[in-house]
Subunit: 355 residues, 2 copies
Amino acid sequence: MWCGVEMKFNIVFIGFGTVGQGFAQILAEKRRFLKEKFGFEYDVVAISDIRKGSVLQENGLDLLKILDLTKKTGTVLGYELGQKGLSSLETIEQSNADIIVEVTWTNLKTGEPGLTHIKKSLATCKHVVTTNKGPIAIAYHELKRIAEKHDVFLRFEGTVLSGTPTLNLTIEDLAGTRISSVKGIVNTTTNFILTEMERGKSYEEALKEAQRLGYAESDPTIDVEGWDAVGKVTILANASMEGNIKVRDVERTGITGITVADIEKAHREEKKIKLLAEAWRENGKVMAKVSLQSIPLTDILAYIDGNMNALKMNTDVLGDVLVAGPGAGGIEAGYALLSDTLAINRYSSLLARKE
Amino acid sequence: MWCGVEMKFNIVFIGFGTVGQGFAQILAEKRRFLKEKFGFEYDVVAISDIRKGSVLQENGLDLLKILDLTKKTGTVLGYELGQKGLSSLETIEQSNADIIVEVTWTNLKTGEPGLTHIKKSLATCKHVVTTNKGPIAIAYHELKRIAEKHDVFLRFEGTVLSGTPTLNLTIEDLAGTRISSVKGIVNTTTNFILTEMERGKSYEEALKEAQRLGYAESDPTIDVEGWDAVGKVTILANASMEGNIKVRDVERTGITGITVADIEKAHREEKKIKLLAEAWRENGKVMAKVSLQSIPLTDILAYIDGNMNALKMNTDVLGDVLVAGPGAGGIEAGYALLSDTLAINRYSSLLARKE
């Protein structure tokens, strides 16, 4: 609705793995479309990654060139221009960034190094868009206060269901509802494995297939033991339901104990076994758990298979609302960062028009 | 994310039927919650309805009192204070409104009287929130230009899938994607009837049940002949996909020809008959149709039954995204107006903070 206003944002990537590169690729491919449709213009002025190195170029990097370089050499250091060797924090402090893209790895114990990156960014009045579950699961309320104090945005759509609108849906579109519970399939690896097992594979075969297709890490612990889902449901409980829970408060089951016999038994009972993440209200508190459940075929969540994820939200004024879409992928999670960036552009354009 | 800023909006209702009263009831019940959580405060300063009369009270009406009065007497004229007898246009012009709630009846031929109400509101620098399909289906691009020219918002979430986030989802959350097609179940009356027929009722019995429960009008033509779905898919084609189609361009089938034998045949083929609204791109244009289709049980839309509606959107970066939820109801559609109003509050609060 706010079109045609010209704004130029300086963007800095902290982390440049699959998701960061996914976002960079979307930005590069859609540059002209984003300018024409939303008046959104950008320069990527720095990239800092602990493995791939760091480059800062205040008048903008050639994004296609640096993507190509990263894919070919595994590092950004071959880029001919710019200042090399700054740490992530130095990059955040010394760059002329308007928006910091925090896409380092998820750490559900300490949130680091993302937590420090995000705090530093917000405190130096830079907007943050992130897909990093660690800092948001661990410190959502604190980070929200810091963002509000410095009048900047902290947006994190991609921490749950990758680019499928979920957090912005609950926080903005469903604003003013009271969400009494959420229930969903929020981990792609485990859902893919369970679906493959329904098709006859053993757990080990299904895991191998997931690894072959890139849906599972070589060490799949975080996914198959339910930790990833715990991180996501903690974010939903705190950000979408105003809860105040810790990762360690969440009861957790993984899928490693599941056998083909369990799947077959569920099938005979017209049920499907799914790894469900749930948050609900109880005695004035928000609670959450991740558990294996046999759900009846009358529940629409039974039809969310393979790499699809879904979240069902129970609200006071609408009853149940469901959203479903991809739950993982470099481009898919990369798109979440674009959705958040365009939201910042919408609000900022409005301010620019009024000035 | 923008909390604690105090803003007070003057709200005017043009139309005060089921949806208008639904929104008024939500506003009254959530008054304290909306102030505490979003810093959103309001006065309803006028109500004008062609059947229920008109009252304008610049320092605010007692909303609970006027809701009660309307339910008991069928008119607002018994309200002891305020100016009576203004027409809708006079109310729009003469009131101190910040937001006009346009909830008169849908007219898919001319868009009137809603179209004139909305134009007058926007041209006199008032934001508009509406659930009225007529004006948006007929004149979306023109109305958008008028809103932009006067720097006000026109929001219409409730024209499709009532309060289930759909238009704001495609326009804001999915901003920057290219939606190549949408396909969905967007009419509650027909979906309820088809579901009842699957359970063994004849078309006539199912229609009667729908009428008894308030899902169908005493003259059900607009729903069962597919016109309501045509209006909705026109809005999706133009507002979510930047198409430029007219209501009369949309190929249309209703459900009146369906027999129990058709339903049974589909069932034997592991299919379900659904009334689908679709828009897609073809030769650089957006096209749309409403048709009865037998869809396989492998399609998640086959599980959207009864009073649930759903829309599947195919996008470039995410593949398919689905949203499902209630498609009708006074409170449900009333909530769409709250969602839109809180969006206006978010943008306005931000401006207020910067001033």
